[in-house]
Symmetry: C2
């Protein structure tokens, strides 16, 4: 693979996810923090109007507007559709190629720690994730299929990924998560620099990945109204095993509803505020361990 | 004092505070739960349009629209100003008096447990609070002065109060807090019924109250932008003592900012999402113990 020459860090793709907004502000005002000798970095505010109003979006979710078809569809003219087309243009390098790496910053009301959300199991992204997970125990790696993530902002780049941190409420800055997220981004930039320079990294030889297998909605009545909540035993238990028959929801009358699947899964995005309207109470994943491919210039540990 | 004849339970005064919205829905669909022999109960959805859009408000904060002057000002015509005038009319009893009791349901991103927010130290409200605090250790009692709370919905009634539960993100249902809040409301209704019937209650003879003494904003630059976050040691520490010189904020560069007050205070509403725009990082309170007046028909304990 060629060297990394351009990196974009995007905050406020969702305007009420303040960690990303304020990290982007910090980097924007302190460009030296993200400057490295071997590549150029750019900070971008995803949805300025939503940031101003501290809302997720104005007309529609910006982070679902990046399919190739939608970007080419001139008839789509909502604020976010227009903004998506602007962002696509902004994130072209001087050579007219998309930026090599896009890091899109998000937060969640789910207890997902420092999650790295991959668009593919590209060897470079797996090595990067392995490096990041060696830095903090809070790092978890989630991978969703192309069919799903082709609508995301970070899909503009083959090496795009999102950092999703939580649990934190929308519209709130949590200092601890702010500092941990910033540290993670700077570590990723250091990794890119090291990669470009041929530096040796200590990287675990295996990596745990959580692969998307589906989503579960809240129980709803015929009018689409929610009829049950996340069960207290499941709340904030992201990345923990959910076994067949375990309680998953509880109705407003206190009736427990059990998980009807036939095998153990690992739910994430449990009770994410923004997913109520998307019909998602949690995403289900399978946990797997992958072996990390090590180019000769990287040193393998563990 | 006369008997309680009319009680209103209001959910969704802020449309994205789902606990209140869904408790109001439950009570609305199960009127028997809130029916008592000696008084009539009504459920009201405060801000229907904001509930539909899962936003705090449409044009302005409904729970700041209830000053007598604003309610009489025909020139105020925003969605919430209009709704406030409607609510004032709805909450008139058949005798043309305001409802005897209004319970307004709120949630907060601050770690305030089950807070009872009083508009005054009316002996009836203090006895009620004392009873409720004997039911759950999570109950805390906060009292703010008339000069401040005259704009709240619950100020329509002399015996109005709010129940403020947290920590929970906006747009999220937390089953544990839902169940605790419902239990608290039902206990209050039982108390009203007992009061009307002259039933003996076991009520602690003293009550801890947190009295509002002021608010602190986030450090901001000349453009009004936030320059620091709640210090990690202070996050989620509502109702815990804040001593002079203790860290209170931390800048984006990691510089600690200490509390400059000269006496120990008890902050609440720490890092409440909706208060960023109001210039409030936390409210400060003084903690005091009051002796509860016991009419002869109530039995004193402790």
């Amino acid at each position: 693979m060629d060297k990394i020459s351009t990196v974009a860090i995007v905050g406020g793709t969702h305007g009420n996810e303040l960690t990303g907004v304020y990290i982007a502000k910090k980097f924007s005002n302190n460009q030296d923090l993200i400057t490295r000798p071997s590549f150029s970095s750019q900070v971008l505010f995803g949805n300025p109007k939503a940031i101003e109003q501290c809302r997720r979006y104005i007309d529609k979710d910006l982070n679902r507007c990046f399919s190739r078809a939608d970007l080419q569809n001139a008839a789509l003219s909502s604020y976010e559709d227009t903004r998506a087309k602007e962002i696509q243009k902004i994130l072209l390098s001087p050579q007219g190629k998309p930026y090599d790496v896009i890091i899109d910053l998000h937060t969640t009301t789910s207890n997902m720690g420092l999650s790295v959300l991959l668009s593919s199991e590209h060897p470079f992204l797996l090595r990067l994730s392995s490096y990041l997970s060696s830095i903090s125990d809070d790092v978890k790696v989630f991978c969703s299929p192309k069919s799903q993530n082709g609508v995301y902002l970070d899909s503009l780049s083959d090496l795009g990924f999102a950092i999703e941190v939580g649990a934190v409420a929308q519209g709130v800055l949590n200092a601890d998560l702010f500092q941990k997220t910033e540290k993670l981004i700077l570590a990723a930039l250091d990794y890119f620099e090291g990669y470009n320079q041929g530096t040796l990294f200590d990287i675990p030889s295996t990596l745990t990945i959580y692969n998307y297998i589906g989503a579960i909605d809240y129980p709803r009545n015929a009018r689409g109204e929610i009829e049950a909540m996340i069960h207290p035993q499941r709340q904030f238990q992201d990345y923990q095993p959910l076994h067949p028959g375990a309680p998953i929801f509880i109705t407003f009358d206190g009736q427990e509803i059990s998980y009807e699947g036939t095998s153990t899964v690992y739910p994430i995005f449990i009770n994410e505020a923004a997913y109520y309207e998307k019909g998602v109470a949690m995403c289900l994943t399978q946990k797997k361990t992958v072996t990390i491919y090590h180019p000769k210039r990287e040193r393998q540990i563990r």
